[in-house]
Every structure is written in C-alpha cells, then in structure tokens.
Symmetry: C2
C-alpha cells in the first residue's frame, strides 16, 4: 500500500515510536507530582518543550501542549479574540483556512462576533491588498495558515505579519501543514501545529503564544500548560512528538527537496498523461510534499476507490467523497474544478518508485472511469453521442433515475440577458460529475453561439460548470434561478 | 519504587501496552478516510467504542472519546447546561467534585450562570436532604462524582438520580475514579471518565450522553465523535484504553476485593502505629483501592519527601504541597484535618508486601518529622516544654523568622464572647503545620478552662485548629478577626 495522505496523518516516525515506547515506561506519571516518577515525567516534558520551542523559534514558556492540533488552533483563534475583546470582536481569516479554524470562526460569529473571510487568488494565495482592506480599527486578530492543506500553496505570512504589526493586530498562524516541511516565517504572535502531521503521534497539538500577546483562555481554569490547556499532560505522546519534530527538522531539508522533486514530477506528468486535468495550487511557492489535481468527468469517490484498489491512499476535496455534499471550501474559494479531485501528500521517506507506479496506473484508472460516461475527454462530442452512451453512463454512474431527456430548443424561455437557452439539461437531483458530463455530452447538439442551460441542485456545479468552460474553451454565461428548482448554469457554445 | 498514586494515574496496563503498540501500526490513519488504512483504523475505533460502551452500560453511539478526562467532564457539565439553557442557568455540584468540575462550574458562574455547591458530611458523602433542597425549577443539571477522588467515599448516585429524575433534571456523573473499580449505579444522564485512571494511556477521556438528554456542544462544530469533540480521533490510544478497560472490568472483582483488603489493613494499622492520625472517608462505602489519612504536627510536603526517599509515591491534599497555599477543597468541605495528609491509592496488582513495607516504615518517618517539632503526640505538653524545644522546632521546620514569643496573659484583650484569651500565639506569616504545633506546645501554659488564641493567616489553620481540638479533646471556641492581621482561632483548654 502506498500511503499518499500525509496531510491527513503522517505515519509515526520510527524515532518517535522508539521514544514513545520508552516514555510510556518512564513518563506516564503526573509531571506535577514531586515523587520520583513525577519528577522523571517532568524532566521528559521539559526537554520535549525545549525541543519544540527551539524548532518553532519560541521560548519554552511560550509553548503549551494541547490534546490535538484542532484544539490548538481553535484555542489560538478564540483565546486571542477573547484576550483582545476590548479592541473589538472582528477577525479576519483567510477563506481557505482549515475547517477547524473556520468552524471556530463560525462559533465566534454565533456568539456575536464578526468574521471577514479574506479572498484568495486562483492558486489559493491570500490577496494582500484585499487583506489590508479587510483590516479595521476593531479587528482583534487575523488568522492565516502558513500553507494551504489542500493545494499546498504557501501563504504570504511575512507580508501579512507586517500588515498586522503596523496596526498592532496579532497574527495567528495555523502551521499544521508546514511544520517539519518548511520553516514558518517570523512575525506571528500565535502559532498552532499538530504533531501527527509531522510524524508524531495523534493526541498532541502545540499552541504557542508569544510573550506580549494578550490571550484569555476560553476554557475553564487550570494551572497546567501555562493555564491554557486543562487536563492531565500526556507526557509520553508529547515526548514522541518532540522526537519526531527534532528528527524531521534536523536534516529534513534534503528529504523535503527530494519530495519536492517527486511532486514536480506529478505536476508535470499528470497533465501529459491524463487529458482534461487541472493541477491546482502554486507550482513553485508551495509545500514540498503536496499536490492536488482534478479530473473532468470523474466521480471523486469512484476515483479514490479505484486508487485504493490499486494500492494508493489519497484524499479528495470532491463533494461526492464528503458527507456534506459540498465541494471543498478551498477549491470553491479558488474557483477551480472540484470533480475528480485528488490530493497527493507524500510522507517523509516515500520511495520514488511508488510515485512512478502511481503515475503509471493513474491514466488507465481515469480512462476506465471516463469510458462509461459517454464523454471523450479533450474532444467536443458530436451530436451523435447520445442515447446509447447515455444508457451506459446511467448504468455505470447514476445512482438516481435519469430525468426526462431535454430536447434542443425546449425548456426555459426567459428573455433576459444572456438570452434563451437552445437546450436545457435537467440534472436536478443528480450529483457531481453528472451535470458536467451531461453538458459535455450534449453541447454538440446546439449550434456554435447558442446557449445551453444546465439545471442543477448540486453545489459542485457552481464550481465545476465554469471550470469546465475554462478548460474546454466554451463561454460561461452566468447562473440564474430556475423555476424547476435549483439553479440554471448557462454556457455558450463557442466552437 | 512502590507507586501508590493510582488515583492520579494508573500505570499502563500490560494488555493496553501491547494493544497500543499494535494500534500504532494499524490504527494511525484517519478513521474518516475510505482507503484501506482509514477503514482499518475505523474498525479498530468501532470495536473500542463497543467495548467501552458495554462496560459503561451505554450504547456505542452514546459514547464520544475526548482528549482527556478533564475535557470529558468539563464538556459534560458545560454541554449539558448549554443544552438546557431554556430551563435555567442554575446547576448543583457537590462541594467535593474534582477541581476540573469546579473550575468548569466557576466558568459557568463567570458567564452569568449560578452554581450551588451542595454540602457533604464528615465522610465526604453528599447530604441527600440538602441536595434535594438545592434543586430548583431553574436547575438545569446536577453533577455528582461516583466516588470521591481524595477520600474514596462512594456517593449516593442512585438516590441522587432518583431525586433528579423526579424533577426531569439530568444527573452528570464524574466516574473518573470508579470506572474499572466499582460499577456505576444506573440513573445518570451524562457520564465522564478518564482512561489513564483505569490503566489506559493518557490522552483519552470518555463522554457518554444518554439518548434523550439535551446536549449542546460548547466547542466549535465538528462532525467527528457525535459532533461533541473536534479534532483528529486518536485511535491507537483509544484502542489501548478500551483494552485496559476490558481487562480491568473482566475478572477485576477479585483484584478489587484484594486491594480493598489491603486498604482495610492500612485503615486499621495506621491509627494503631501512628499517634494522632485521622483516617478520613467512609470506612465501608468506599473505593476499594484508596485511603486517606492526616497526621497532626506534620508538614505534608516533608512527609511526601520522606516517603519518596523511602520508595513510596503518594499524594497529599495538604496546602503545603500545592501551589495554591490552600488545603484540599475536599478536606475543607468535610471539615477534617489537612496537615500531614497522605492519600494512598493502589494500582491494580499492587503486591501486599509493598503495603506491609509502607506500614512498617510510616511510623518511624512520622515520628522523625515530629521529633523536631517539640510536640509529643498524644501527650499534653507541660508548661516546661518551651524555649529549648522551640529552638529545635524553628531550626528544623520554620522557613520564616519566629515571631516574638507571646507571653501568657498578653495579647488581645477583647471582652466579647467567648472571652479574652489567656495566651495569644502569633503565627502570622507561618504556614501549616506551625500554627497547630505552636498551639500544642503552649496550651499547657494556661490553666484548664482558659482560652488560647492562635493568630494565623494560613488558610489551613481554619481547618486544622478545630480538627486538632476534636482529636485532642480541647474545645474549639470559634474564630474572630484579629487586629494584628489574619484570624484569631480560639481554643479553650479542657484538661
């Protein structure tokens, strides 16, 4: 099994495993106790804190260990906002923060606070001019990830820190994806990270609050961990986390360069061997180990299942692989294709041969999935590609009955801009990638210059129909409410 | 080293260690992922949840795993209160709950809620009549531990549950100390526990919310763990926790009976071999493995240090062993002696020989510590026991200069009840056990029936002076503010 989902969880580093076993023997007691076993646990904890502080460029007394990276980053945001509530209740977060940050921001809103989600460009990078515009007199904090967890794009942390510093606003950096991979630029006030992303065990997050930053714990009082994290301190896991961080930080540059080369290979080869693929994220200013691409006309879940059968563990931001039926908020904020989405994130030590094998099997897997759709990628389908192909597509992909086939010239006759569609494709009740597949199959049935309306109640269509237009050269003509329900996405055939 | 502090942390159960190692290999991936490694982690997680639910008498879908027992119990209280905020913002908690519960209750108060701390008797057991009186129309929840963590007394959970059920109030049970030791009585709505107390690893708490109980998460949204606990699920530690629980629950009765016998031996032998000792907590309705006693005229920290040197790890509720300078709130609520306090809590598998060795060395250790105080335990000191002994006491115990010696008949001349002291002992600025030692040393200087005033600004004196009276047969005559600062505790010599 080739495990390519390090961004979810990096397998435990061998050095961390050894340290964990040893610390389970020597560090299990309460480090607050004065007896022998407690003092020994305290020494291990102090040493681990020193290691983590050094790697993160902080003082040991600025570092608190939490029960998870999620807890760390949620405390970072909510604790900093609570500490600065006299300044105001407004916070700015990037639109592509990890969902744990966005969920904490939503809680802040639900309790009367105000959140601005600052926009990103098509690579996923925060727009600094927009960010500057979002800052206000009552902005209590700004949260910006060091690098995006889905597409790998590095954020302009140093520049954002300068903008914040000029206004006395603390910058909170979610460094979960970059710690152990890329150094975090200076200038942050609060930093959060997660040990199991760098090869430590689960159950350890890190919350660093720089001296001079106001912080008020949202949690009940507890004297442990700088009064920021109530509960028994999990010394064995913290020791293992620190050992893993030390191991990947020391001499990790070579390994990260090697992984960056493997990712470059994926970024180059996939578009060469798989038609109609969009590789997203910044190609240069990026995490070394992570790459994301999306494949037109492919069901993300089917793709993940086929890759799993072929021995590859990857993740996806496609809506059909999540329980929410919405595509990844990151891809949505970037305005890129979400269907057939694959995120590859390479653990430390990934053999080059595994990447080669992935590149060898991927084209065939994607082609097999597309074969049943009735769409020939890269080729505008002729008007002939209809009934027979549709039947195949339905039996292979659809999990709900095919709606009544729309005929050219029927459907909505609204006369407003951009005009009336020559063809209405009713895909209501059908999920990604069906709306785009139907569009690709039937657009050849209208003359160049004519409009096609795709009726859809699938959130992914809002992202995928425009992305399909961008990739195929057709013109996206906007959306409008549909009397039949859902939304009509309008596409003008250009060739 | 004999480790007698299982109530802080039970050493990892051998079966749990083996399961942990195996689950670090097989359960490290994200159980929400659909690929092979994720599915395997999910199967392990599901099995662990089933085990824990079975032992706790719950359904698997009622069980959520948290990052610590503290997190579990704090969520239990705050989430239940949030879920029932339409009923009211009043909660009742016992005065002897774990500090994590009391700190959560304080946060509820700080945010506008109201808390009643229901009283306990001298054994630490909640007074059911008082509890019933505390329940109001706007009482949203009641929190009661299954057993006290410092003195071992079992609480009347079933009876409290009946009182609550009759009024439709959910009962929250902190079962951290009893799970794996004593079955939790039925009737609770929400239960919290902590794996490292039963031989699991640190980093795993359990939050059980029975179906039909209103619960609103105080934490940001997350779809994992029944939407109650945000963050990556720590499968390996949860697996180890479940294996440990299964191991101690299966056939644990014999072991718990054996430990109960060892505790009985301590409860019987310590008062026989150590003079002026108070063994606290219910002698029968108690946890099998835990016993607490307090030794007059002994500095708790010095006692713990001496026991540690002799190879015994125990804890203490004495104020001099904590950073807060206040004695344990549990001992305070019970109104029992706090000085020289020792809690012995035996891990599963404690050899009887270790307990015997403890019983053999304890009398000598206590006697050595008392030898330098100038007080002969069990014997009312004569008026002669003054200057020379005091000098020894000062050099050995005092960490601040001896205040000017008070002479018989000097000092405060107030004429209110209970009359004027014949002797004022100024112990301002001096910590436990000095005020009681001074009292014991000098009470012989006044005639029977005369009053002695002990001036103290040490919180422990409020507990220890009355407890000393109870143990020695002198009459405690109350306290009054002292013009010199602190409080004057009045004692009438009776013999």
């Amino acid at each position: 099994m080739a495990y390519f989902d390090a961004a979810s969880a990096e397998p435990l580093h061998p050095a961390a495993r050894a340290a964990f076993l040893s610390a389970l023997e020597e560090g299990w007691a309460d480090p607050a106790r004065q007896y022998h076993d407690g003092r020994r646990a305290r020494l291990l904890l102090d040493a681990a804190r020193e290691t983590v502080a050094t790697v993160l460029g902080a003082r040991p007394d600025e570092v608190a260990f939490t029960g998870s990276g999620t807890q760390a980053v949620q405390l970072a945001l909510l604790g900093t906002l609570a500490g600065r509530r006299r300044v105001g209740a407004h916070a700015v977060v990037s639109a592509v923060e990890h969902s744990s940050v966005l969920h904490a921001a939503e809680q802040h809103e639900a309790r009367g606070g105000e959140i601005t989600r600052t926009v990103v460009d098509r690579t996923g990078r925060v727009d600094l001019a927009a960010l500057e515009n979002d800052l206000r007199a009552d902005t209590a904090a700004v949260a910006l990830q060091s690098a995006n967890h889905e597409v790998g794009t590095l954020q302009p942390v140093a520049e954002a820190a300068d903008l914040c510093a000029a206004r006395g606003i603390p910058l909170i950096v979610d460094a979960a994806q970059s710690v152990g991979r890329v150094a975090v630029p200076d200038g942050w006030s609060v930093l959060a990270a997660s040990a199991h992303k760098w090869g430590g065990p689960a159950g350890v997050g890190v919350l660093v609050v720089k001296k001079g930053t106001r912080y008020a714990s949202p949690l009940p009082y507890d004297e442990r961990e700088a009064r920021r994290v109530p509960g028994f301190v999990n010394v064995p896991a913290i020791v293992a986390a620190a050992v893993a961080l030390g191991a990947v930080a020391t001499g990790g540059d070579d390994e990260n360069r090697r992984l960056a080369g493997l990712v470059d290979k994926i970024r180059t080869r996939v578009p060469q061997t798989v038609p109609d693929v969009e590789v997203v994220g910044d190609p240069v200013a990026r995490l070394p180990h992570l790459v994301t691409f999306s494949c037109l006309y492919v069901d993300g879940e089917a793709l993940l299942t086929a890759l799993d059968r072929a021995g590859f563990a990857v993740s996806s931001g496609s809506s059909c692989t999540s329980s929410t039926l919405t595509p990844s908020h990151v891809l949505a904020a970037m305005g890129v294709l979400s269907q057939g989405n694959v995120r590859v994130s390479l653990p430390h030590g990934t053999p080059a041969a595994e990447v080669d094998r992935f590149l060898a099997v991927l084209p065939g897997i994607v082609a097999d999935l597309r074969a049943v759709t009735g769409v020939t990628p890269g080729v505008l389908p002729s008007a002939a590609g209809t009934a027979a192909d549709s039947a195949i597509a339905d039996s292979a992909i659809a999990d709900s009955p095919m709606p009544e086939s729309a005929e050219p010239g029927t459907g909505e006759q609204g006369s407003g801009e951009p005009g009336s569609p020559a063809l209405v494709l009713d895909t209501l009740g059908r999920r990604c990638p069906i709306p785009v597949i139907e569009l690709a199959k039937h657009i050849g049935e209208v003359p160049p210059g004519a409009l096609v309306a795709v009726l859809s109640d699938d959130e992914a269509a809002r992202l995928d129909v425009p992305a399909w237009c961008e990739m195929t050269g057709h013109a996206y003509a906007g959306e409008r409410p549909s009397p039949e329900g859902g939304v009509a996405y309008l596409v003008r055939r250009t060739s």
